[in-house]
Amino acid sequence: MTVGGGPVEEEKKPEGEGFTFPPEATQLGLISAVIAVVIVIFPGLPAIIKAAGLIFALLWGADSVRKTSKYGLGTGVPSIGVLAMGYGIVGALVGIAFGKYVSIGTGLLQVQPGVLVGVIAMAIVGLISGVLSNSEKVIGMKIPGLERGMMELGMAGALAMLLQFSIVAGSLNFDVVIDKAISNGLIAVMFVLSMMAMFHPYNACLGPDERRPRTLMVSVEISGLLCVILGIALAATSTSAWGVANGVSLIIFGAFVWGYFFVKFVKTAMREAYSTVGTGLIKTIE
């Protein structure tokens, strides 16, 4: 049924050593999606709360990448993370274009559920591409759950991109986002770093001893780095209602998240490597 190698069994190791994420894949997806959606429709929130939503969206993406590429894609893990952000950019553009048509209130209390149209559009495109890629008659990748994986990746990518637009521009209005987040080139940094946060964890951690909580820690760590960079951009260009404090608090938050999860990851990796049984060197044939 499966193609290629890779660990197919789900977490048979006992949990509890080191850091653990209680929810399994579906629960984590639902929780992250709800948190990210609630945060993204309030563009007036301070950047630090949006950053928390961004971390959840990227965590969802990283978990979907892990779930999908466990079976061996043939092209390497990064490909599906790049695909997610490729869809994410189109979805975020659709979202901000719809944003002003469904919008309630103004200023800090503005609610823009219209941006979710972009997320839904990417769910549809992702689902269609998943169905076509997995179908026996078309590409025939034969990966269980690829349809769902690509749908989730499109949604997570679009949500992550919308949250980053919202952090940097302080609003989800089309013209403001284009002026403050896109035409100055910040979108390229967002594109690259958020796809790193999605594909790098599983790409770096994969192997027979891979453990889900440890892998997902890397995603949170990269999201922290992304927050630092977005914070610097925000502090330098901010004209939002929260002032420079918005950017500075985001830098501190990002640095804290990055430092905490980096130390935690290195400690966990060292502790778990200690318990791995060595097999010795491969015998040389004379």
Binding site: V82, Y87, Y101
Partner: protein
């Protein structure tokens, strides 16, 4: 008329990206050890690199010209140069660093030059380096891929009235999505048009056509609803 031209440009870009990927000599991990034909990296990295180079040249030319053919061809030339240099440097490393002969693993006789390949292939290996036929195939792939990326950029820039940065990033996003779907079709590695996997091309063209059509419609929606002037 402009919405149709925009969707046609995006569709052409996506389909050409898919075709370009099928023509590149992508070796993947086995090529990094010199045991398979192609450049030692994944399809995504090669096609993204080629497309980005193409977009740089295309956007430079688009700043001075409104001619769709000139802009698209300059994009093609940009990725052409990038792929040519990459394959040449890979071959230099393979030949003078690893000490292996560029040879195709799929065909016994080079279909273009007629050189015999079979004798030079190491047993248990799937070819080495970038042989002549793969080099020519890769050049064709890069030209088509870069042309596709640039025509998409031109469409987004002129028919959807996107800003240059926005058009570049949106074109990159749609382009890589299509390139990755095509990469899934070939299972990660291919050595050019002589590879038997090339016969799977219509399936990837169908999928990429559907996806880029949807993306084209979405981009048109963005241009219309976002209030970027000039569209219809």
């Amino acid at each position: 008329m402009e919405p149709i031209l925009l969707i046609v440009c995006v569709l052409a870009g996506g389909v050409l990206a898919s075709l370009g990927v099928h023509l590149l000599p992508v070796g993947g991990a086995p090529a990094a050890m010199g045991t398979a034909t192609g450049v030692a990296t994944g399809t995504v990295m090669l096609m993204l690199g080629a497309a980005m180079c193409g977009l740089f040249t295309a956007s430079s030319v688009a700043a001075f010209s409104d001619n769709i053919l000139l802009v698209s061809l300059s994009g093609g030339v940009g990725s052409w140069l990038m792929m040519g240099v990459t394959m040449l440097m890979a071959n230099l490393l393979y030949v003078f660093g690893t000490g292996i002969v560029p040879v195709s693993g799929r065909v016994d006789v080079d279909p273009i030059t007629g050189e015999s390949q079979k004798e030079y292939r190491t047993p248990q290996c799937d070819g080495h380096g970038v042989p002549n036929v793969s080099y020519i195939s890769g050049m064709m792939g890069a030209l088509l891929g870069g042309f596709g990326g640039a025509i998409m950029y031109f469409g987004l820039l002129n028919y959807a009235n996107f800003e240059p940065t926005m058009a570049g990033v949106a074109a990159t996003g749609i382009f890589v999505s299509n390139a990755i779907i095509a990469a899934y079709n070939i299972g990660g590695t291919i050595e050019g048009f002589q590879d038997p996997k090339f016969k799977r091309l219509p399936k990837a063209l169908l999928t990429c056509g559907v996806i880029s059509l949807l993306c084209g419609v979405l981009v048109w929606v963005v241009a219309n609803l976002g209030g970027l002037g000039g569209t219809m």
